[in-house]
Subunit: 103 residues, 2 copies
Amino acid sequence: MIKVSVLYPNGSDKTFDMDYYCDTHAPLVAGLLGDALRGATVEKGLGGGAPDSSALYIAMGNMYFDSVEEFGKSFGPNAEKIKGDMVNFTNSQPIIQVSEVML
Amino acid sequence: MIKVSVLYPNGSDKTFDMDYYCDTHAPLVAGLLGDALRGATVEKGLGGGAPDSSALYIAMGNMYFDSVEEFGKSFGPNAEKIKGDMVNFTNSQPIIQVSEVML
């Protein structure tokens, strides 16, 4: 299983509409990716490790696939449509990480 | 539910013993935190969003708790013991993020 993390950097000028992301963007992505998407999670940044510190990421979205190939096949043809929806919920440019799920 | 992400930055000089992390460190943490720890996941960085790019994080460990208070109560008294084990598996100084699980 692989996990694709979409990490939205935080900052004083950064905005993120979590309601839109959960209620509209996530279902849009799920509908486009279909059965290749094995699961998805969403988190809202609360803080860092030190008391009263800011979260590094204002939000994190995570998608699970059986393999990197499955991710590429399902996400590639829909990438522009998915990225095009970003202006509707954030001005933060996300960082992508592909990981192997170990535990 | 909250998620505490422990993100280990990648780099050409960074090392990470995933076998030790999964087989020894994770059980150590689980034993120390007890019932407050609702779940845990581990991922190994494979790459970034662009083809042939490096993963931003060499590894990510995630712990789930009912609340920030539960995390603090269980992790605080064990923090030194947990951090003290880090030299056994990595030379990367992790970034901590506390998040609220939305989906």
